[in-house]
């Protein structure tokens, strides 16, 4: 058998804040071990060196918002054997998908003096709306330990162990008092996928949905509960409309309560 070569890894960026790819550089304790096991072949945020594709593993950050990027993502797919989207922008369109609920031209005109210089699509969309995606890693930002799990699973030819249950499970594991039943602040925990370690509830605030909808969520039941407890409809709409606003279950729920 031929000597095993290191898998070539590429990191791609679309519309995003760079935070999810930064998570890779934030693996300070593990970074040198990672580069022992893989070859960083394309990662402009970290290196000016470029190794030609095809790539064994591609990590894709960001959403599709321009005609150029809608083309570019197909090139990325063609040059990648296994493609993982990282973060809420790539998996759900991100915070910039708030434009999807309005006319984007109003937004452009509100921000730039000469809107005709700006080329942008009417909607910000998830990568999986454009190409086949092998695995999706959620979060705004992603959890770096989950990123390590995805890379390690890939290197060992197994399925990543990323739970799809709700934040509530993490709250219970941490022994936190449930804010829903004790009249705490509005919380999206019951419909949001775990991954943060129930971060906000441990800081005395409600979950605001960084990791997007859990598997088989029931947001209408949760909304009913909040409305019964005095929440205003427009606040409910805002709650579902943040970093994962255009993920289907959250989108449908916010639209259901919009005037």
């Amino acid at each position: 058998m031929a000597q095993k070569r290191k898998p070539k890894v590429a990191v791609w960026k679309f519309a995003s804040c760079d935070g999810c790819q930064l998570s890779l550089l934030d693996c300070e304790d593990e970074l040198l071990a990672i580069v022992e096991a893989i070859q960083i072949a394309y990662f402009p945020e970290a290196t000016r060196a470029v190794v030609r594709g095809p790539y064994d593993l591609s990590l894709v950050e960001g959403s599709i918002t321009t005609p150029h990027d809608a083309e570019r993502i197909h090139q990325v797919r063609r040059s990648s054997k296994f493609l993982v989207t990282i973060g809420a922008c790539a998996t759900a369109g991100g915070i910039q998908a708030l434009r999807n609920f309005k006319n984007v031209h109003e937004f452009v005109a509100g921000v730039y003096a000469t809107p005709s210089y700006i080329e942008t699509l009417a909607k910000s969309t998830a990568i999986a709306d454009h190409i086949f995606v092998d695995f999706q890693l959620r979060g705004c930002p992603i959890n770096k330990h989950q990123l390590l799990e995805v890379i390690s699973a890939y290197l060992n030819g197994r399925k990543p162990n990323i739970p799809t249950y709700s934040v509530c499970m993490e709250c219970k594991q941490k022994g936190l008092v449930c804010g829903l039943v004790t009249h705490g602040p509005p919380c999206l925990g019951p419909v949001t996928q775990a991954g943060c370690g129930a971060l906000c509830p441990s800081y005395h605030r409600g979950c605001f949905g960084c990791f997007g909808p859990k598997e088989t969520p029931n947001p209408s039941s949760l909304s009913e509960w909040w409305l019964k407890n005095g929440m205003k409809r427009d606040d409910l709409v805002r709650l579902y409309r943040s970093f994962n606003a255009y993920a289907d279950p959250f989108r449908k729920e916010s639209e259901a309560h919009e005037k």
Partner: protein
């Protein structure tokens, strides 16, 4: 001298997507464009209709590298509008959070993004092959900054603990115990960093910028102060828009800032240092002198030393705050939302970050304006590129291109903020 074009289509080791395009005609630089092709994300547009309380979490998403800066400028703006003052320990904790972001961001930039240029490496991974001890130390320093942000903010990227009026939850004094020793280590590591960076080879180039930074009595600036410059500007942050404006340039998805009637200016470590040298700690001042920085530095490549000096300051300041910390009774100052306008301006690692919000009586945002540091530096970046190419025009193409990239990296540009990666294109006709 011949005509040529320097072109970098996708600039590496910066945050975001940008390109350079420089044209030289008969030995004279005729056109310099620092292009930003980061897709516009339209934050100011969708902040409209959101509540004041959502601004820190939403604006943090503009930048994964300096989310704390966005959270700080936005909470200060809201507090300005509501007439709230956050003082004493809560104010100190905000400075402490900022120390964490400065340490983490400066260590990232000095070692992983900028130092490889001076030493001729493509990246820190290759640098690490020859000097593993340097990169290991850099990562440890960066991690300590991140640990500080994570302890106070909940996580390194997009922290969740900052709110208008203070915090959601305050740490116990004992929670900081485990951080003091690492911070003492970080202080020593940043002292070593000043000495290491001082010995790097610097291109012989100076530029006479108008430097703009915050200045507040008795401290090196993070969260508040007046906006001052080395050419006599001295204004309250609420006057920012009367003296500064933004131009929309065709080649960039970002807006270029100018001082009305005077043109481009400089923000960031160099500007802060030049305007606040006297506010540094004696140790940081001594190290700066030892590094032969002088009280004024106009060589933008030496910003790498200034970042190291600021890291020393941030470590000392963090240690001081932690040692004096007594947990306050309440994590948040009480306030009632009211209609009005709020201004916030704080020192992100890359320079001043300005926010302005108009709010209705419930605290709903009617309009927002955000001016990130990289947009403010864009004119200075283009001027440097112009002058550097003119000065070093005889260098071979490859070397000149790399020098141009290094010149942009002096600014630690955050193009995600200014909207994002760099293509360099020098055209010699």
């Amino acid at each position: 001298m011949k005509n040529k074009t320097v072109k970098v289509d996708y600039l590496a080791r910066v945050e975001g997507e940008g390109a350079l395009h420089i044209k030289v005609k008969k030995g004279t630089v005729t056109d310099v464009k620092f292009k930003i092709f980061e897709p516009p994300r339209l934050f100011e547009g969708f902040l409209k209709g959101r509540l004041y309380s959502e601004a820190p979490d939403i604006t943090a998403r503009i930048c994964g590298i300096c989310p704390v800066a966005y959270q700080m400028s936005s909470v200060h703006a809201m507090e300005y509008a509501f007439g709230v003052k956050v003082n004493n320990q809560l104010r100190d904790l905000r400075r402490l959070l900022y120390c964490g972001e400065w340490i983490e961001s400066h260590a990232l930039h000095i070692y992983l993004l900028h130092a490889p240029d001076f030493l001729g490496y493509e990246d820190a991974i290759q640098l690490g092959k020859d000097h593993p001890d340097v990169v290991t130390k850099a990562l440890k320093l960066k991690k300590i900054g991140n640990d500080l942000v994570a302890l106070l903010g909940g996580r390194e990227i997009h922290p969740i603990n900052v709110r208008v009026g203070g915090f959601y939850k305050l740490p116990e004094k004992s929670e900081f115990d485990g951080l003091l020793e690492p911070l003492e280590w970080a202080l020593q590591a940043s002292i070593d960093t000043v000495r290491l960076t001082a010995g790097l080879p610097f291109p012989d180039y100076e530029c006479d910028y108008e430097c703009v930074a915050l200045r507040n009595p008795g401290e090196y600036p993070f969260n508040e102060g007046r906006l001052v410059s080395n050419r006599g500007l001295d204004i309250a942050i609420s006057e920012y828009e009367t003296r500064f404006s933004e131009e929309h340039i065709k080649h960039a998805n970002a807006l270029h800032s100018v001082i009305n009637g005077r043109g481009g200016y400089l923000v960031g470590p160099l500007a802060r240092y030049n305007l606040n040298f006297d506010q540094l700690t004696p140790l940081a001042q001594d190290l700066a002198r030892e590094a032969k920085l002088g009280e004024q530095c106009h060589n933008p490549y030496k910003s790498i030393i200034v970042r190291a000096v600021e890291t020393v300051y941030a470590c000392e300041e963090a240690i001081r705050i932690i040692k004096g910390y007594q947990k306050p009774g309440s994590p948040v100052v009480d306030f009632v939302p009211r209609a009005g306008i709020g201004f916030g301006c704080t020192e992100a690692p890359r320079g001043i970050l300005y926010h302005r919000y108009r709010l209705d009586e419930r605290g709903e945002i009617l309009n927002a304006k955000i001016v990130p540091p990289t947009a403010q530096n864009q004119k200075a970046i283009e001027k440097d590129l112009h002058d550097v190419v003119a000065k070093f025009i005889s260098k071979p193409e490859k070397e000149l291109t790399w020098l141009c990239e290094q010149t942009v990296r002096n600014y630690d540009p955050c193009i995600s903020c200014a909207t994002h990666f760099i293509r360099l294109h020098i055209e010699r006709e």
